[in-house]
């Protein structure tokens, strides 16, 4: 049996890669994919704890997280399309109308 800490370590690595991706990417679609990566890292933690504690609640949380991720992707991609129509760019640095 693989110990719990291995799963947690993999989840930590994935989450950190997602955070670094948000920092270094300027393409807004890639930023979204990095957010999906982080959500999946959290899902792995939840499923691993659910397995090792013998409690199904973690898997229900994963279900809800997936729902929220789907809703977030739909709304976010609609915003990206609308941004691209008005600004002709998907670079996040150029969408800075609200900046002082």
């Amino acid at each position: 049996m693989v110990p719990l800490s291995w799963y947690l370590a993999l989840s930590a690595v994935l989450f950190t890669i997602g955070v670094v991706g948000v920092i270094i990417q300027r393409n807004i679609i890639s930023l979204f994919m990095c957010i999906e990566l982080m959500l999946n890292a959290v899902n792995l933690t939840l499923v691993a704890f659910s397995r090792f504690l013998g409690d199904v609640t973690g898997q229900l949380f994963v279900f809800i997280v997936m729902t929220v991720a789907a809703a977030e992707a739909a709304v976010g991609l609609a915003i990206i399309i609308s941004l691209f129509r008005s600004r002709e760019t998907i670079n996040v640095d150029e969408a800075d109308l609200l900046r002082l």
Binding site: V20, I24, V47, A48, A71, E94
Partner: protein
């Protein structure tokens, strides 16, 4: 420790975990280092599929199935649709305000990794539970008894997301504006409809 005892301590589950984990981490690095978003999306699909395999090793077959169906299927198809639809050429940033931020990424990566591992070390190692919880029956039991309120809230959230994304991505065309103006004019019309006037005229003529 000679080779035989080493081989005896290795389980097949360890080999599976290490293989899938290595593939997952490599693909995750590929997601963040590619410049073209379509390659990032393909790498992300690999990450999602390897995570589904890891869910199977955690005795969560239902979650693994919806990971493949919903995430790798529906959500990633949505991403690839948008990438294809926008069809953005690879371009250098004109402003490049964040030029030095990427050199901060490596120390930040190491710091955060150390932080998370420090937290993980405080977590004890509970022995694996004897009865794995991941059957469809147990998930449905939990979802429709204790957690029915979050379930219903999620359905309302999905409805709001559908309506919101349609509203956001709608193209405002001149024809739409004309339609709306016509409808407003029709609603505000105070004079009677022409057909009614004609009927009245006929009635007056008959009476005369």
């Amino acid at each position: 420790m000679d080779v035989n005892t080493l081989l005896n301590t290795i389980e097949i589950s360890h080999i599976l975990f290490l293989g899938f984990a290595a593939l997952c981490v490599v693909a995750a690095f590929n997601v963040i280092l590619q410049h073209n978003p379509i390659y990032s999306a393909l790498a992300l699909i690999i990450v999602l599929c390897t995570l589904a395999a890891l869910f199977v090793t955690l005795y969560a077959p239902f979650i693994a199935a919806i990971q493949v169906l919903v995430y790798a299927g529906a959500i990633m198809v949505l991403f690839i649709f948008v990438i294809m639809l926008l069809n953005v050429r690879e371009e250098e940033s004109k402003t490049d305000q964040q030029k030095y931020l990427k050199y901060l990424a490596v120390p930040f990566f190491l710091a955060m990794l150390g932080e998370v591992f420090a937290v993980i070390k405080t977590v004890g190692a509970p022995p694996a539970s004897a009865n794995p919880p991941g059957t469809v029956e147990s998930i449905a039991n939990g979802m429709f008894t204790n957690y029915v309120l979050p379930f219903e809230a999620a359905s309302v959230l999905i409805l709001m997301a559908i309506v919101g994304s349609m509203l956001l991505a709608r193209r405002e065309s001149a024809a739409d504006t004309n339609l709306i103006e016509d409808a407003l004019n029709a609603a505000n019309r105070s004079t009677p409809m022409p057909a009614i006037e004609t009927v009245r005229e006929i009635e007056e003529e008959v009476a005369a």
